[in-house]
């Protein structure tokens, strides 16, 4: 999967768990911007598992891994490698 394809799919997933516009900067915190809260985060993780056919193990359930588009993309890249 190309980096662009993975990011596009990630953005599509994010849009399913929030109604707010996504940040233009991939490094911007999704939590501090108010885009994700504590109850949207579990939805995001579940949606990522479904979209990318992965199982996020409990040891990876660290909010910091999902704090920005860049971090989520990096996590998905690591999982694919």
């Amino acid at each position: 999967m190309s980096d662009a394809t993975r990011r596009d799919r990630l953005v599509r997933v994010l849009k399913t768990v929030t109604t707010q516009p996504l940040p233009t900067d991939d490094e911007e915190s999704l939590f501090e911007s108010g885009l994700l809260d504590s109850f949207a985060l579990p939805d995001l993780v579940s949606a990522l598992e479904q979209e990318f056919s992965i199982k996020v193990p409990d040891r990876d359930l660290n909010p910091r891994k999902f704090d920005s588009i860049a971090r989520i993309d990096k996590y998905l890249e690591d999982r694919a490698s």
Binding site: F31, S38, L41, P42, V45, R59, N62, P63
Partner: protein
């Protein structure tokens, strides 16, 4: 070795602390508090009321509802994450105030999941010890008053106590199975030690709880080959209404199947699941499987399956 639940009990302080009162102290609106948690009000005990006072009241209520004399108890367990530090813990005082002079009394210093862990351990021990009175008692108002009120946590908690009577003698519900888990790598995510204010990483707690609760429930159901859809009621730790709804959704059951009183009492930590059980049992519930489940600081979590006898 079979074990049975004979009854439940509860005690809540009289003083009602509304969201409006709380909002004035934490710079949040009453509506924001309800939207974030589903909580409308909670009970706070008077300054002179102790965890042991709450525990004794719930224990007596449970014994009365179960038709059991304190003198017949073989063991007492008192779970609390908010009992004052030091020793002895509240269990010894509870036993003494119930008139017991040599019955073993054990403290479980565990917030939130303590009531569930007590019930599961009692089910294993009842055949050897005799009737076990399991109590969860919390004075969370004392915890949140340690230092300035944190707007994100202070509005969640209430005081109260719940209790269950577990016995090897046949009773109203048979305990079929239980699963317990702990993962100390998250011990800093939810922490309180009386020297600093309660620390809660809400993102981490909710993320872990929303995954681990359904997993533990499905684990105990699978052991007994019971489908989630066939469960009469889910009696969960009353942490947050949004979390209860999420667990129901993950399990694929209607939200109404998850008993909730969090709107009236807030999060009473280790007492909450037992208080929920006491209120549910008062409703002359339908027969069928019953699931208990809790998650809390540690992290500790698990689930217990029972069925009407």
């Amino acid at each position: 070795m079979r074990a049975f639940l004979h009854g439940f009990g509860m005690h809540l302080p009289e003083r009602v602390v509304t969201n409006r009162e709380m909002a004035a102290r934490v710079e949040r609106s009453a509506e924001w508090i309800e939207g974030a948690s589903g909580i409308q009000e909670r009970r706070w005990a008077a300054a002179e009321t102790s965890v042991a006072d709450l525990a004794v009241a719930a224990g007596r209520d449970c014994l009365e509802r179960s038709g059991v004399e304190a003198s017949s108890l073989g063991l007492i367990m008192v779970a609390s994450g908010s009992a004052p530090p030091g020793f002895p813990g509240p269990a010894a005082e509870v036993a003494a105030r119930l008139g017991l002079e040599s019955t073993p009394a054990i403290d479980i210093p565990m917030a939130s999941a303590g009531g569930l862990f007590g019930m599961a351990m009692a089910a294993q021990m009842a055949a050897n010890c005799g009737d076990v009175l399991v109590i969860g008692a919390e004075k969370m108002s004392a915890v949140i008053e340690t230092g300035p009120l944190d707007p994100n946590t202070a509005m969640l908690f209430g005081d109260g106590a719940g209790a269950a009577l577990v016995s090897a003698q046949p009773g109203r519900w048979e305990i079929l199975n239980a699963v317990l888990h702990s993962d100390g790598q998250y011990r800093e995510a939810l922490k309180f030690d009386w020297s600093t204010p309660l620390r809660m990483d809400g993102l981490s707690v909710i993320l872990q709880a929303s995954r681990k609760l359904p997993f533990a429930i499905n684990e105990v159901l699978a052991r007994q080959k019971v489908a989630a859809g066939d469960v009469t009621v889910f009696l969960l730790h009353q942490a947050n209404q949004n979390l209860l709804v999420r667990v129901a959704k993950t399990l694929g059951v209607p939200a109404e199947r998850v008993f909730s009183n969090v709107a009236r009492y807030g999060n009473t930590s280790s007492a909450s699941m037992l208080i929920a059980a006491a209120e549910w049992a008062d409703t002359n519930p339908a027969a069928g499987p019953v699931v208990f489940s809790a998650f809390g600081a540690g992290f500790h979590w698990g689930a217990l399956l029972a069925r009407s006898s």
